[in-house]
Symmetry: C2
């Protein structure tokens, strides 16, 4: 029913008499936001989560709060997306905060750090353990806040043209990697390159890269990495539960009606778990296809993991000495992580390992 | 501003002139639902999740969709709550579907089954792998649907007054347990008892129980089980990721405005992950207190896990032979689970186990 034209023809009494329990409610303004995604629209998982979240928000407001999601680079070049949110060029960006470690390494704690938390630990820290307040305190001077809306879980360690058996094999390796993981690999002798998702394949095909990590079987297959490299390593010790989500301009957020903010929060939280369910459902299916197509699975050897762990601790210590915001986030994050790791090795790990022994193959 | 009294005093023109961007929108009726929780209100985790989800829904609708959550037994006795939803006495219940395995064992697949999926696997099956449609097909003749809103993760195996070292120690053990786990323990010689959360302590104190499982350190401490038993076993192989959520009457659901349904779905999904973050944050803290107070941790020995696994497979086969709905759910569930188990032992398990070795203690 078009209530507005009904008012014109019958007046308010007609409106109040029409239909079951009609009501005239507080202002529900039409709001339009633009969202710059950090990802190409070929990725149904990461890009798709921003789109389905925007759809939930639109449907939950009867179409009055519309968020248009644009692929990486369409509104602003991806490296400037955080600045564009900060200065209000766009209201929000759906991206991975650790893409901005070049500005300040503290950004990494919004996504993930080497040898950091897994999916559940990150969510528990963020939503219950004070992580949200800690990280948004870092973003406040930039006039922004972050809301997780998506996670990859522990990622695969990426695609290599030759096997990585010893530390020597890392030497001079030109490897696409994001976030602080690049600094760890550099300390191990590799030459890290931060390249956005859509630009990786061209670099691989030009031969300017020896290897690449992205996310996991489903996304990696979509981007075609299996066509240029054969050895598929695990786990990505630098991305054990990468969070993506909305960086939102604080003025745009404050200007929203209270009920729209509530709907945004619930929908973002839904997307946060929803993207994880997509990966958990799709990755096993894609992995089976990849293995049938000749991909060779390889675990990183323990000495490589040990060396990377040591390098990471040294890097954390160096950055903490120079950057008080990084130190504040680092200390809070790892203090929250340790008791959860110890708890989860009891129930979760014991159970999962028993089940894996029974359902193998 | 009270828009209704404004209309009385100034007429519609006054309403339209008042404030920034006022709008008269489509019908947003006031809706009131009653929700019978399956849990006592002493549990901030499970009972609390229903309350915070109801609050999110109310706030997202500017107070127009109100759901009142009543503790177990307050509106209807807990064992009759599913029937009360089915016949419309209440619009919904926030509970664990496996409380109704006495009616039909198929109910268990809405919560968890022995040697079933963990938290992430259940969500991936439910939201991406067709689990939702499979389970709600079972509920449709009962005029209900289920929406997950909370999960415990892998639970602790419960409290025992004496150690359980061999299968003989299970013999005659009077043990409180929920869902199909009771049938597995009965096959192993125990005497399972299904008792609602609030009634367990009185039974323990009367001496009519030898042991009890509930959820994990935080809830168990609140209910006081550490005061009557010393040995705390892990993992609960019968509850590896127990889902709780809303059982909703289908007529009440269909009568909701479309935008309220969208808000309910998003808020329930938020609560689904939100309860998991509470447990992951609170359980390690409670466990530390319990251990300081004299609780002794014990793992179930491998021969006990193996015997329980074998018993579970035999029980699944027996029930499947008699109950086609159970067989349909069972086959769908375990077909979805196996590839996820194999995928997660690569990245998640390898990473978690490395980190546990580094952050131990």
């Amino acid at each position: 029913m078009d209530r507005r034209s009904l008012i014109k023809t019958t007046g308010l009494a007609g409106v109040l008499a029409a239909g079951a329990a009609p009501a005239i409610v507080g202002a529900q303004p039409a709001v339009r936001w633009r969202c710059s995604s950090g990802f190409p629209n070929s990725l149904d998982t990461i890009f798709g989560t921003a789109v389905t979240t925007a759809k939930r928000i639109a449907d939950a407001t009867d179409g009055r709060f519309q968020i248009t999601v644009a692929p990486a680079g369409e509104i602003v070049p991806m490296p400037q997306a955080a600045d564009a949110v900060s200065n209000g060029t766009v209201e929000c960006s759906h991206t991975a905060p650790f893409y901005y470690v070049g500005q300040d390494p503290t950004w990494a704690f919004g996504t993930t750090v080497p040898f950091g938390m897994n999916f559940r630990q990150f969510n528990a820290w963020w939503f219950q353990g004070g992580g949200e307040a800690q990280f948004n305190q870092f973003l406040a001077p930039r006039n922004m806040r972050y809301m997780p809306c998506g996670n990859t879980g522990v990622q695969m360690g990426g695609w290599f043209r030759r096997e990585i058996n010893t530390m020597e094999d890392m030497n001079g390796l030109r490897f696409r990697i994001a976030g602080l993981g690049g600094r760890v690999l550099a300390a191990m002798g590799a030459v890290p390159q931060q390249i956005a998702g859509g630009d990786i394949m061209p670099a691989l095909e030009r031969g300017t890269l020896d290897g690449v990590e992205w996310v996991g079987p489903h996304d990696d297959e979509r981007l075609g990495f299996n066509r240029v490299a054969r050895f598929y390593y695990y786990p990505a010790f630098w991305e054990p539960g990468a969070s993506v989500g909305f960086i939102v301009n604080n003025r745009a957020w404050a200007a929203l009606p209270a009920s729209y903010r509530e709907i945004f929060l619930a929908a973002a939280h839904e997307g946060n778990n929803g993207m994880m369910t997509m990966y958990d459902h799709l990755n096993p299916i894609a992995l089976r296809r990849l293995l049938a197509g000749g991909t060779q699975l390889r675990p990183f050897q323990r000495p490589i993991l040990d060396a990377a762990f040591t390098a990471a601790q040294r890097i954390y210590s160096e950055i903490s000495g120079q950057n008080p915001e990084f130190k504040r986030l680092h200390d809070h994050y790892f203090a929250a992580m340790r008791p959860m790791v110890n708890w989860m090795r009891l129930t979760e790990a014991t159970y999962d390992s028993f089940i894996a022994s029974k359902l193998r193959g």
